[in-house]
């Protein structure tokens, strides 16, 4: 299968400029958004999904649960050719498919409509179960949540069940920028490990470390990667 080519080959260094098309700001360094490095490493080196395979049953699924501030997500999707770069300047406008929260029915490659916190991980659990029930053993399901989003009880329902059920094809990335008001004493990974998950905590800006954590084997267990980034200003 040939991969649909992006308008040109975008690199990580181009993402700041793409984000700038949405925000109007010229100086968007990568550090301005907590999810950018995680998203780039996933889409560049881990996820088996391209614009050409975005509707295939056997594709990997990436569910952005933390729908707030989706500019990094849109920049990466545009860079990888899921939709044209010239959609970006319309961000948030009436005629644009790109809202301040993503809508799966409007944007190619977007797996869920998100914004309200605490829905992505349960939907990911259901997706992993649905793929397994259809005998699709290969596709991986990835969901990205934030450390404050982990406050939502629905996520605890999902992580407890997924660990117990041994959903091996389920992967969660927690962007940890210390934004949860009451924090997670002992670290976020311990919550998942206690529920039977495989867990790794890494520097969320370190691409090599992220890639190693994303691709670590975790037989019989779901896997969480806690990506530590600088505290939200």
């Amino acid at each position: 299968m040939t991969q649909a080519t992006a308008e040109r080959d975008f690199r990580y260094e181009d993402l700041g400029r793409l984000i700038g098309l949405m925000t109007g700001a010229e100086k968007h360094g990568p550090a301005a958004t907590s999810t950018l490095d995680v998203l780039w490493v996933l889409y560049d080196r881990v996820l088996r999904v391209t614009p050409a395979t975005a509707a295939d049953a056997g594709r990997d699924r990436f569910l952005l649960s933390k729908g707030h501030g989706p500019m990094a997500y849109y920049a990466v999707l545009a860079a990888k050719g899921f939709f044209p770069v010239d959609w970006l300047p319309g961000f948030g406008s009436y005629d644009s498919p790109l809202g301040h929260h993503p809508d799966r029915t409007l944007i190619p490659g977007v797996e869920i409509g998100s914004g309200s916190l605490g829905h992505g991980l349960p939907l990911a659990v259901g997706s992993a179960l649905g793929l397994r029930a259809q005998g699709l053993a290969e596709p991986a399901v990835w969901v990205l949540i934030g450390d404050a989003e982990l406050d939502e009880g629905s996520n605890h329902e999902a992580l407890a069940y997924a660990g117990s059920a041994g959903l091996e094809r389920l992967h969660t990335v927690v962007i940890d920028n210390d934004s949860a008001t009451h924090g997670w004493p002992g670290g976020i990974a311990t919550r998942f490990e206690a529920a039977g998950w495989s867990a790794a905590t890494v520097d969320g800006r370190d691409h090599a470390a992220l890639h190693a954590a994303f691709t670590a084997p975790h037989p019989g267990r779901p896997h969480v990667v806690v990506a530590r980034v600088e505290k939200k200003q």
Binding site: L123, G126, R132, E157
Partner: protein
Amino acid sequence: MDTMRERFISVTSRLLDEDPRLALVLAEITMDGFLPAQRRHPDRVVNVGIREQLLVGVGGGLALTGMRPVVHTFASFLVERPFEQVKLDFGHQGTGGVLVSASAGYDWPAGGFTHMAPGDVALLDTLDGWTVHVPGHPDEAEALLRHAYAAGDDKVYVRLSQQSNTAPRPVEGLRFQTVREGRAGVVLAVGPLLDNVLAAAEGLDLTVLYASTVRPFDDAALRAAVRSAATADVVLVEPYLAGTSTAAANDALADAPHRVLGLGVGRAELRRYGTIDEHTAAHGLDPRSLRERLTGFLRPTLR
């Protein structure tokens, strides 16, 4: 005769054998009845434990992968507790599934208000595009469940109850049926309240329509009944919150003067235990109370 919930177990277990697209999600409730089906289909009969937000979210995730999820628990935990999941994990995603409740209205009076959900249909009415089946007999429940499972990617709610009419009626999951015709008014009986309505209307010159599917509301049937009754007086008798379908009836009759009386379960919490019959009487839905309320509302035309 089995109950609707028992019929749900038998028909769903059978259809899980026949339709590989179906998957059942449970949160402990009714799990015992599905143990044989779970042994046959461990990947398609999933019990998530006592986790109702996850219950609905998992249904939504299954639908995202192209399956037809059947999601079941008591109505209060299926529609009320995880309401945002119902709203977002199906409707906003542009997917569908089948929600099957038990114990909606006051099926377990001794259990108290925590296990009652008279507002389930009214709550779903705030969302777009949900089909709502309210079977009045276990045979109707089976027919409507089969319709719901086969309904592509539609969003369908099937409201099962301990309460039942003595005999089933043929249902096809769409239209209101005319049970009897009269001149002095139209009574729409929903689901298990048909027997009480027919008893209450005995000897009165009334049209009785029967609905086992209330959403979409059959505007054409109500308009036709009103036309042939030669009066635009309509009484709705629903086994859930009184007035739930009043707006739908008003919309159906918007082009002509009319009167609508919505009867059903009262909004006020009774704070009583007891039996189903005692609660039916307390809400004024037994035949004697219904007859008084019908004749009171229709007095000018019945005279």
